[in-house]
Symmetry: C2
């Protein structure tokens, strides 16, 4: 029979001490929650991107980002998370959001002016 | 009286169209949840770091990371999140975790062999 040290975690990892396997199982659960929340966040920012493209607003919004950084740093401190990491995390996510917004804006422009796709504008 | 276009969001942003303000308010809620989950994730990995330092296991674990990447990419696909982004996100978080683990391992080493802090080993 296998000893206590040999068990399967959610991820199928074997030969791991049980204390480590238990923590990894919690980390796996937290990661699943993070992925689903990130998916939901990008759904919301995708809608923002479509609205912004419709109103011809720029993809980035430095004033909004400043407010978000201040708020998330404060939340991080309260939650016991390094505020510098919280800020880096927001920048990481926002960089991806801006890439999406730029893509949406480009598509909207091409739709409004299809010649942008061809080599020269209509004469 | 202020028109519908002038409202305050959770972050105190004004002069934003209501559709955008509503989406931003949801994004702010999701971000608060993300920050709290990340705080909880780092609590778990901090415990992992202490266990690993005690057993003198290396901070990084490429086999475990490979399993995590495969799982998170699959979860991301199901949730409608770009799997490439999910992978980048995990790498971003794991890089921070490894920095923490290295710091814990160093502290443990210094505690076990305090001369590491001074210029030369004991003679």
């Amino acid at each position: 029979m296998l000893a206590g040290r040999h068990r399967h975690t959610l991820s199928g990892v074997t030969d791991v001490p049980p204390e480590l396997a238990d923590l990894r199982s919690s980390i796996d659960n937290i990661d699943a929650a993070l992925i689903h929340l990130l998916a939901e966040r990008f759904k919301a920012t995708q809608r923002v991107g479509i609205l912004k493209a419709g109103w011809r607003l720029p993809p980035a919004d430095p004033a909004r980002e400043e407010t978000q950084i201040t708020r998330l740093r404060a939340l991080a401190k309260e939650a016991g998370l390094d505020p510098i990491f919280a800020e880096k995390f927001l920048s990481f996510v926002v960089a991806e959001v801006i890439r999406h917004h730029e893509a949406i804006a480009e598509t909207a422009e091409v739709r409004a002016a299809p010649w942008l796709r061809s080599e020269s504008p209509p004469t």
